[in-house]
Assembly symmetry: D2
Homo-oligomer: 281 residues x 4
Amino acid sequence: LHHWIVTIVCDDRPGIVHAVTGAIVEAQGNITELQQFSGLESGRFFLRLQTETATDHGGLLAALQPVIESYGMECRVDRVGRPLRTLVLVSKAAHCLNDLLFRQRSGQLPVQIPLVLGNHPDLAELASFYDVPFESRPVTTAEEKTAFEERVLRAVEEHDIELVVLARYMQILSPELCAALEGRIINIHHSFLPGFKGANPYRQAHQRGVKLIGATAHFVTSDLDEGPIIEQNVVRVDHSRSPAELVAIGQDEESRTLSQAVTWFAEDRVLLDGQRTIIFQ
Amino acid sequence: LHHWIVTIVCDDRPGIVHAVTGAIVEAQGNITELQQFSGLESGRFFLRLQTETATDHGGLLAALQPVIESYGMECRVDRVGRPLRTLVLVSKAAHCLNDLLFRQRSGQLPVQIPLVLGNHPDLAELASFYDVPFESRPVTTAEEKTAFEERVLRAVEEHDIELVVLARYMQILSPELCAALEGRIINIHHSFLPGFKGANPYRQAHQRGVKLIGATAHFVTSDLDEGPIIEQNVVRVDHSRSPAELVAIGQDEESRTLSQAVTWFAEDRVLLDGQRTIIFQ
Amino acid sequence: LHHWIVTIVCDDRPGIVHAVTGAIVEAQGNITELQQFSGLESGRFFLRLQTETATDHGGLLAALQPVIESYGMECRVDRVGRPLRTLVLVSKAAHCLNDLLFRQRSGQLPVQIPLVLGNHPDLAELASFYDVPFESRPVTTAEEKTAFEERVLRAVEEHDIELVVLARYMQILSPELCAALEGRIINIHHSFLPGFKGANPYRQAHQRGVKLIGATAHFVTSDLDEGPIIEQNVVRVDHSRSPAELVAIGQDEESRTLSQAVTWFAEDRVLLDGQRTIIFQ
Amino acid sequence: LHHWIVTIVCDDRPGIVHAVTGAIVEAQGNITELQQFSGLESGRFFLRLQTETATDHGGLLAALQPVIESYGMECRVDRVGRPLRTLVLVSKAAHCLNDLLFRQRSGQLPVQIPLVLGNHPDLAELASFYDVPFESRPVTTAEEKTAFEERVLRAVEEHDIELVVLARYMQILSPELCAALEGRIINIHHSFLPGFKGANPYRQAHQRGVKLIGATAHFVTSDLDEGPIIEQNVVRVDHSRSPAELVAIGQDEESRTLSQAVTWFAEDRVLLDGQRTIIFQ
């Protein structure tokens, strides 16, 4: 038996669930998980289901095809547990990369990582321990930045990358690169957005005297730190913590928040409703 | 247009979602919310959906009837937002009753409360402020206990009660009463079960030196503090807290946990899978 | 035996704790709690201790006087558990006032409330149930606003008010009133500041698609929603929640956050270090 | 300037803080952090302070000596940031060891680890990546168990070990070993104690249908899972999670809870008050 994930996005109207599940029945599938959501403001309908069936990918898509056409659906059929081809970008901070690689090896994170790209060489050894190819090139001039981004796009093509993860990559991407990777590039921002956008969020948090600090995983858009939010976490701090201690405390939340977002994305649980995300946990 | 909640429990097999949603389509309903779960160990299937339709209660049930029979379903159709007829039992502690009544009046808790029964008169004034009838009778002898429980059962019958809530009612119920109210009586226990069953859980927690204290809302069974758990919350404490301070700190979690459980029950979001609960949030 | 709270703020230098505790020893006090903090950036020293002693207020102050003068300290000596004279301002929303009054009556909140002032009459009945005087006057014109604020200042004088609490009071205060009450006026803002300042924070939170919503208790300054933060809490939400649901969900956090801040303030646990608060829990 | 941590435990009576801070003044120290606690039930007094001074270890102890004798104190003077000599015991699960080693290398965990001992060879490569010696020997017979424990004690002596950490070491220790290491051996139990002691706590948690799962770091005593608790954390789960998924979800809490407990212990923030711990954060 195969296990498939089916995700569907279309304009909302009556009968969609019945039509889709009818196609699943036709493909002799048993539905093991099903979630749906109707966006009241956008008028869009979102569905994710898992099904076990003897039918293969093509057979399932064929069964769904009439429904897809009739409702004008965006539909995606994916195998449960298939590792997502993921490119990771890093700078010097190791904690997010370490967390992603450890979970990947432990079997908790359904990705495969054909390459880690850094603008510093610091994390080469860590990647090597996990047998992941690592490549670094400096990004200090405009030319280097352009070259780095071209390397990113080439890697995306070469490895047929489905997701780019900025694991504390500390360079701002060009609008062109953001546009080219739209909807398949995730960043971890080290604050509870929309508070403390931009640089040095922990220093901002210290100055403002907040009692909770946090981390936000979000899609990258050309509008800095404004992309759709996927996941957020916070942790309590008090007046006694220096900015440097906030940095250390916040690392746990950054790691777990980014890994959670990547996991959900890899399991086809993240759908976009305008500037908001639908997360089917 | 009417808004209906449909909940279904039956043995799991392929095609159920399609069959049920087909009946909804037949009744010209639009599904606005749908959640399902298959219990791997029990082999049971659970579904909750909300639908808007011009069809009335009888019409919707009629449309579902063939499916219900074909699959041997337990099925319930209820109007969204209908206040549940709820009997509340109390002793002296006011915080849970206060929270339930405040939320009920604010429109956040879909219940109506025809009666509050106490084994102490202390909360009469509070009930009166919220225009809820209050009655108290002492429970110090075996005869009084029997009389109190008879009063409970009579009240259940008189007011066609759908849910009994023990809002820090400090008497142990007889096995007979537990049996008579099975599946429709909820208690708030002032610890994070299964830790610290029985009396004085905060004193037990203090002695054990736990770093988090909690509260558990659960169905009442004749097996004390062992009924299926509906909701739990915890709050951090430290070594400096006396047992009396733990009592005060824990009250917030007790109130919110009980109100959350009652809300979910009233919205038909709580289903039983043996000793475990399915919560369709 | 008396129980006293001593709070001290001064410029930091060696020997302060020894000097202060020497004065306590001289007053034959036993220290039961002591916390201190040195603000690295501000160079200020903060201390709070509790002591039990046969000495009265004047005797304890006399013992401390030489130290106070020698170090140029701001020093405050207060009786443990003395209820703080508190004025509460409200509009229509009941949850924060209800929470404050319930906790006050339960003995969990060491305040006495000689008056609740509203710009709407809606909460008169609630105040009356708790035997608290209530007065309302409309604030729809500039003249009415001036009159309302004059009434606030008069009430502060008449009742020797030590703390003003804005319990979801929905009017912006004039800079003059903010200045007059500086350091003794607390607001609850219904978002996790600094995110979503100003009006309709839950609508803003919905549009931005955040995964946690929160509440912030802070000192009021003329700079709207920018005053020093005392306490913050958050609660998890998901894509399915409408702005109206966020409002309902957030009420619990608003109530508990405000009551927590008021409790700490009433127990002399909140000290100001520039734009940040020191909280000695 | 040196930075010292002073911890003191003695019977409670008036004047202790003054006496201790007097000795610090005499040693020309500036107190940068001070916390104290009086155990009401045990009648014991606990204090931890940090001081910066030109005085060396011997000089500071000499200044404290008269006070120590006069009050019958247990007193410890330690250098801030000195890495604690720590022995780690493991089996097959990698997440706790990985977390400890990553934090140690990042400079977040003030320990040095001269040896990791396993009853399986699985984690040799991980230890090697962090340049930590690793040794494994099977524990399947009584003789092997005795030999393993003798190796532990020998390693403790050889490396002058101050703390033994059971990082998901899955063997029960003999009462003799527990006694020999009393007060300096910490275990991570994969449940929220006192719920679900013993083997397979996640399976127990699944059967009981709890809504939060957790982890507990505690001192090891011969009374299994009953030693004094140092830290606990929980995470929310729902009905849909299988026991295997609970295992994966719980790993984050296990890692962070254990690392937190080890950090506090290494910073002399954990003191024992009978069966309870005082944690001076």
